[in-house]
């Protein structure tokens, strides 16, 4: 297997996630797209770790685990915010949540 295959797949998932964040207006779907982005980073970390092996491989896997933990925290807080927006406005349409627009 070539390293570049994994990196290209991760880049593709990243770009799909960026598209989702920009184009979706349902808040839950935007959070899902963020998960795609974080997941592509994990693939990169583990692939680079597998390329180098040894201590670098362990570093890659450890940081992939840290990214998973941060993603879990992010989804928890993100969905709490989405629920709060829904409770206050009866809608999770992000184009309507413009209270802080200058």
């Amino acid at each position: 297997m070539l390293l570049v295959e994994f990196l290209l797949l991760a880049a593709f998932l990243f770009c799909v996630g960026v598209y989702g964040v920009l184009a979706r207006k349902n808040a839950v779907l935007v959070l899902m797209s963020v998960e795609l982005i974080l997941n592509s980073v994990n693939i990169n970390l583990v692939a680079f770790g597998a390329m180098h092996g040894g201590a670098a491989g362990l570093a890659g896997q450890t940081f992939a685990l840290f990214v998973i933990a941060v993603a879990a925290a992010e989804v928890g807080v993100g969905l709490a915010i989405v629920l709060l927006i829904y409770r206050n406005r009866r809608s999770i349409d992000l184009t309507e949540a413009d209270l802080m627009r200058g």
């Binding site: 570049v4 799909v16 598209y19 920009l22 184009a23 349902n26 692939a47 201590a55 925290a73």
Partner: protein
């Protein structure tokens, strides 16, 4: 290409194709619940790739935390915000074409430079297996300070989520 690396190559191709199609469906489907279920396919594919790269512990954690916890949280979020279960027409905003152009441009630039830079780098075959024990040793010796910081972050997120979401 000899027979030894054909099998992982084939596995990678199938998994990658499934992940790409599912990822596109996540951001284009008109059904919120289907998006969550397609997300499961992408995350499971990533776990399979980790197995392919001999990162067994990360693969197991990926299944447990991502598929087991995060996707379930998403489904709870969908239910609690009472999204229509079924096809919806207004899930995308009006920047869709601009977003598509940005994503395609970004992928083009990334792909060009990745292909230019690491085209011939081969992964070790078979990959060096790093056992869960070694990963655990690494977390609790070399990276013990980041690990503690992550613990505090999770606690802060837990408290923050409770405070934000509770009723007044």
């Amino acid at each position: 290409m000899n027979d030894v690396d054909l099998a992982p190559q084939l596995a990678f191709g199938i998994i990658a194709a499934a992940m790409c199609i599912s990822a596109i469906r996540v951001v284009t489907t008109r059904n919120v619940v289907h998006a969550a279920l397609y997300l499961v396919v992408v995350l499971a594919g990533a776990a399979a790739l980790f197995v392919l790269l001999a990162a067994e512990f990360v693969a197991v954690v990926q299944v447990l935390v991502y598929i087991g916890a995060i996707v379930v949280l998403f489904l709870f979020g969908i239910m609690l915000t009472r999204a229509e279960i079924g096809r919806l027409s207004d899930l995308d905003n009006d920047q869709r074409w601009l977003a598509g152009i940005v994503a395609v441009f970004l992928f083009g630039v990334l792909a060009f430079f990745l292909y230019d830079g690491v085209r011939d780098t081969k992964l070790p075959e078979p990959p060096a297996v790093q056992t869960s024990g070694e990963v655990g040793q690494s977390i609790f010796t070399t990276y013990v300070v980041p690990f503690e910081v992550i613990s505090v972050l999770l606690l802060a997120a837990l408290v923050g989520a409770v405070v934000i979401a509770r009723k007044e």
